[in-house]
Symmetry: none
Subunit: 198 residues, 4 copies
Amino acid sequence: MRTTDAPKFGRPRNEGADRAILQAALDLVSAEGYRAITVDQIAARAQVGKMTIYRRWPNKAAVVMDALLVLVGPETDFPSAPCAIESMKKQLYLQVKFFRSKYGRLIRSLLAEAQSNEELAEAFRERWIVPRRQGVVAVLQRAIDQGKLRSDIDLELATDMLYGPLYYRLLIGTGSVTNALADVLYEQFMAGHEPRKK
Amino acid sequence: MRTTDAPKFGRPRNEGADRAILQAALDLVSAEGYRAITVDQIAARAQVGKMTIYRRWPNKAAVVMDALLVLVGPETDFPSAPCAIESMKKQLYLQVKFFRSKYGRLIRSLLAEAQSNEELAEAFRERWIVPRRQGVVAVLQRAIDQGKLRSDIDLELATDMLYGPLYYRLLIGTGSVTNALADVLYEQFMAGHEPRKK
Amino acid sequence: MRTTDAPKFGRPRNEGADRAILQAALDLVSAEGYRAITVDQIAARAQVGKMTIYRRWPNKAAVVMDALLVLVGPETDFPSAPCAIESMKKQLYLQVKFFRSKYGRLIRSLLAEAQSNEELAEAFRERWIVPRRQGVVAVLQRAIDQGKLRSDIDLELATDMLYGPLYYRLLIGTGSVTNALADVLYEQFMAGHEPRKK
Amino acid sequence: MRTTDAPKFGRPRNEGADRAILQAALDLVSAEGYRAITVDQIAARAQVGKMTIYRRWPNKAAVVMDALLVLVGPETDFPSAPCAIESMKKQLYLQVKFFRSKYGRLIRSLLAEAQSNEELAEAFRERWIVPRRQGVVAVLQRAIDQGKLRSDIDLELATDMLYGPLYYRLLIGTGSVTNALADVLYEQFMAGHEPRKK
DNA sequence: AACTAATCGAGACGGTACGTCCCGTCTTAGA
DNA sequence: TCTAAGACGGGACGTACCGTCTCGATTAGTT
């Protein structure tokens, strides 16, 4: 998402500023929401000129998207358990926790903005959603290999069914995002996908 | 979402203008998306002064929300079938068709805007989502009464699981919203909720 | 300045309303100035519908102009004295008093508005200024007849010289409009126009 | 009348834009009159964003006032003649010429607007009128020193008497502003103020 | 140590949409 | 038929934020 490369001469880019900008964007948007925050506010909090932001990212959406990828992404490691299916359940709990954290608002904001910004939509899909879905798919595949799930499952569809309701509640707010929800999602999923009993 | 009630004297509201404004809003937003449309454009298309819009609704979001409720709402009748569970499946197909229609963009727009506008969020939830969920819940209850579903189901949760994935795909676009998706949602739902076999 | 004549049938026009409207316009504009007052305010104070105003006058300027003519005009009678030249001096004092009264602001307002409203400008000139100038000219003529002034005076010019400085101060505010000013105007005028001494 | 001073950092004011804005305001208002011109029109003609105007001046009146001071002011040099009293007469002719030029409308517009805008009134008085009056007063004083005028004259009053009728005609239009008028004003003024004959 | 060249903080800029205000017209129900 | 009330179309206002542009000061490698 970065724009230019390092030059040969002159004052080198202050790489630390990058992080300060992303942190400022992250803090502000997590707290107030994307729309409520202006680029000037981000620049002010990062103690940086507005141009420094626009030299690195093409627009506000890109900054916030990068903040998510760079600062939040690494914190969202996939939990591992010897039993793949248990690892799946742990991951659902993590997702619940994530959505309930201050980052819930960040995700909502970006998803909202993406509806009117195709570039952001693609970035969010390909750089945030898809990689995490791949983790899920891999675990599900491992569960199939371990004989814990039927082998004729459409894994993409399965992922939609596991995570769709979480996003739905995050965005619409008819019910809150809780571990109890994760439990039911997991149970129903297993009920529909456990291997045929003999 | 309307602002004031009819006064005792004076020229009464031109109810026809109401409809023209809502239709203009609906057409424009369905075609171009919420953010791309300005209040002036809506006013111009409805051949109405901007003040006439602001006299009735507090902001653009409220206009478009009302357009959804007044002009689209009545078109979304719930399908009925003697067998409740079949009626449920028909409703899923209708939802897919709705999301694929031009109104898909409208729903996406409003849901997006609702993320940064708590007033709109509440209106969307309470006036659009909840009434439609109630229809679903009623059908599911009828299915239980007809012995087609287990009686210990949490109906709200069930609704989330049936519709969550549809909204997820609508908003994120990892996969398209299709009847095939509806089929799988239905099947998995039945697998998890059919009455215990003796 | 009135727009239509009395109708033949139906509820007769409430002639009292006319006066109430003019009085409201006069009071408000005298106190706050033309630009600060809206037609709605005049209608509200006169307890009259806005349409009742626009049925009688073509616009706000016409109402206020009429208020001046109808309500203030009759109060501005020309003072008479056996000696014409003394009558002239009295009139200057009256003008000073008038400009210092609440009507000063009214005159300023109308004169201001007239600069961007040719119709009002003409009305103000022909219906307010010119008649009063004619009074002045008549008195000056009488003074000539009485042998108190030179007979070769251009009376229009003389009037400009007597009243111009009063209006100048009223509008620009470099100095206040006082009887002392009137005295000097009178003296200088006499110095320039008294009959040649033998 | 400008709003803030130059900051220590940041892009400095584009002083060229200032002039373009003032020129646009001057041209438009001189041609069409103050009330007929919108801030958007000025911005468009100056090829400038509306905010750039509002960043420098608090409102339209201030822009036009500054246009007068900056662009017209320097053109209104006081004529000089060895004989002070002749210089005075020349100045009266210049004033007539000025009022008959396209700037006559500008002066009328500003004077009109000043009647409902105390801030503008003060600016017009203190920055336009007073400096020019001071020129007149100085010349009159010189004439006294040269023994061409009585020494007991109130110079402010004298100025009002010389210029008041010109403004009166400019604003009311009962007669036109001509050199003939200037001649009479001058003659009468001299008649009333020439030194006593021995 | 002086020079060079690119970056930096700051903030002005053109543009676009917003939501408000008032004018003069139009429309109703009631007198 | 006229009135009070007030909704209406139109158009200007002054504000906010976006993403771009421009300045003088800063900084590090090159000479």
